[in-house]
Structure formats: structure tokens, C-alpha cells
């Protein structure tokens, strides 16, 4: 039982793929975007999570998740076509990569539930070297640390899931799989940030 739960959390693509994975992924991306509108959390890059901007247009929060997913999935599909000897299917790569991003929904929930606006404004004021418009309490700092820890853990989890998604959908393992994944991730990070910048 324990093994199967761990497998479902870290190796779900041995069991789920195609349209089922795609549906789970798209629903998670859409719900995350919706929650982010209210919490002012940006997923402005394949691996980026930033708090503290509720002034952006609502559509931007919704599109960020889609841009991050598609830009990385396209690059992994191309990498798979180049490096894998298996016959790769579009639906497997796009479906599993979409689903691999579902844990970011947890960050969206935490970001909505944990009040962090005061700390955001405080940090921003310090960064700009101006007088902070608000004072922050100790409990707010602790909650912000909790939120940051959740964000870091979820980001690591998402990277593991995205690698597993790539490995299963493109049948790539070992050094070839790891290096092509890292290169695609770095390019996707730059591309997604650029596309989001164009929309902002």
C-alpha cells in the first residue's frame, strides 16, 4: 500500500498517461491560475514562483501556467524525437508534462490561505531601499517561511515528476535522458519568461 502511494506520487506515469494525464494536468493548471488571480502569485517561468503582485491582468495569471507547460513540452518532444529510438507520441509528452505540474496547485492553495501581502510589501520596500510602508509581525514572518518552504519542496517535486514524465513518454534514461532534460529545462525557462514578458 505504502509503495503504491509513493509510486503514485513520484512515478504516476507508469499508470497514467494520454488523455487522462492531459485532463488532470489542464484542470490543475487552470485551477492554479484561478487561485493565483486572487493571491497575486505568479508562475512566471517553468520553475518560477513569485508572490506579491495582484495588479496584473487576470488573464496573465491564467496564461502563465499554459505557457510554462507548452514551452517545456514542445522542447521535450523535440529532444525525445532527436535522442530516443522509440516512437514518441505527442499526446504522451504533452499529457504527462501537464500532469507533472499538478503539485503547483498546492502552492497556489497555500499562497491563497497564508497571508503574505505585508511581507511582500516589506521585502519590496527593502529591495528598493525605501521606507517600508508596513510593519510586519513575527507570525507573518513565520508564515512566510512556511510558504517559502512549501514552494521549494513542491518545485523539487515538480522537477522530479517532469523528469519521470519525460523518461516514460520518450523512453529516455541515464546520462542522455538527464542531460537532454536539463538543457530543455534551461531553454524552456528562458523562452517561457520571454513569452510571459511579452504578455505582461
Amino acid at each position: 500500500m505504502k509503495t503504491s502511494v509513493v509510486k503514485l506520487l513520484f512515478r504516476p506515469f507508469e499508470y497514467v498517461s494520454e488523455y487522462k494525464a492531459l485532463t488532470i494536468g489542464i484542470v490543475a493548471i487552470a485551477l492554479s491560475g484561478l487561485l493565483n488571480v486572487f493571491s497575486g502569485t505568479h508562475f512566471d517561468g517553468v520553475l518560477d514562483v513569485h508572490f506579491g503582485d495582484s495588479k496584473s491582468y487576470s488573464y496573465l495569471f491564467m496564461l502563465e501556467g499554459v505557457i510554462n507547460w507548452i514551452s517545456f513540452a514542445v522542447l521535450l518532444f523535440v529532444a525525445g524525437k532527436i535522442f530516443s529510438s522509440s516512437s514518441i507520441r505527442f499526446i504522451d509528452v504533452f499529457g504527462t508534462i501537464a500532469m507533472a505540474r499538478w503539485p503547483l496547485f498546492i502552492v497556489s492553495v497555500f499562497s491563497l490561505l497564508i497571508p503574505h501581502q505585508a511581507v511582500d510589501e516589506f521585502i519590496m520596500a527593502k529591495a528598493l531601499n525605501v521606507n517600508a510602508p508596513v510593519t510586519i509581525e513575527m507570525y507573518e514572518i513565520i508564515l512566510f517561511i512556511v510558504l517559502t518552504l512549501v514552494m521549494i519542496l513542491v518545485t523539487v517535486w515538480v522537477i522530479i515528476l517532469m523528469y519521470r514524465a519525460y523518461s516514460v513518454s520518450c523512453n529516455l534514461k541515464g546520462a542522455k535522458g538527464v542531460w537532454s532534460f536539463i538543457v530543455a529545462l534551461l531553454i524552456a525557462e528562458v523562452l517561457s519568461k520571454y513569452f510571459i514578458y511579452l504578455l505582461a
Binding site: 506515469f13 507508469e14 499508470y15 497514467v16 498517461s17 507520441r89 504522451d92 513518454s169 523512453n171
Partner: protein
């Protein structure tokens, strides 16, 4: 307990060959050196996969349902077996 057909020599790990065949009905014995059939080179799990794959008329989608696995993981399993067949053919040619 189901007996497993040994494929490798426990001493030097070379591939084993068939030395003797026995008819349990009339007690006839055939002595000689015969190569193992290619299918015997696969593990029991792989042999089971191959048989199910034939029964499923080569449909990976049906295999995914039978094995309760995703389509790409079944395809990867098949690709692993194909790779093994290629290696066997290569080693046979040498």
C-alpha cells in the same frame, strides 16, 4: 514451487545448452548438444509479456489494459524486449 529453467552457468555465467532430453512417458532419452530456443533467453516476466502481446494481437493499448499500466510504459517494455532480441541476433551471428 515452480521450477525455473536455468539459463546461465552458476559457475562461469556462460549460456547453458541442452544436453539431455527425456520422455516421461516411455523413458526414452536423447543425448546431444542443443541450443536453447531464443524465447528461453527471456525472463519469465518477459515471456509472459510476449505471450500476452500475441494474445492481444499486438495491441499496445490492450496490453496496457491487461497490465494496468500506461501506454508509454508498456511500449517501453516492448522496446526493451526488441532491444534484447537484437542483441541476441547479434551475438548469434558472431
Amino acid at each position: 514451487m515452480e521450477k525455473k529453467l536455468p539459463l546461465q552457468c552458476p559457475s562461469c555465467e556462460s549460456k547453458l545448452k541442452v544436453k539431455k532430453l527425456h520422455c516421461s512417458s516411455c523413458e526414452t532419452e536423447v543425448d546431444g548438444i542443443y541450443d536453447m530456443p531464443p524465447l528461453a533467453s527471456f525472463t519469465m516476466e518477459e515471456q509472459e509479456f510476449i505471450l500476452n502481446f500475441i494474445k492481444a494481437s499486438g495491441s499496445l493499448k490492450e496490453m496496457a489494459t491487461i497490465m494496468d499500466r500506461s501506454y508509454p510504459s508498456v511500449r517501453n517494455h516492448l522496446d526493451g524486449i526488441i532491444e534484447k532480441v537484437k542483441q541476441l541476433e547479434k551475438s548469434k551471428k558472431k
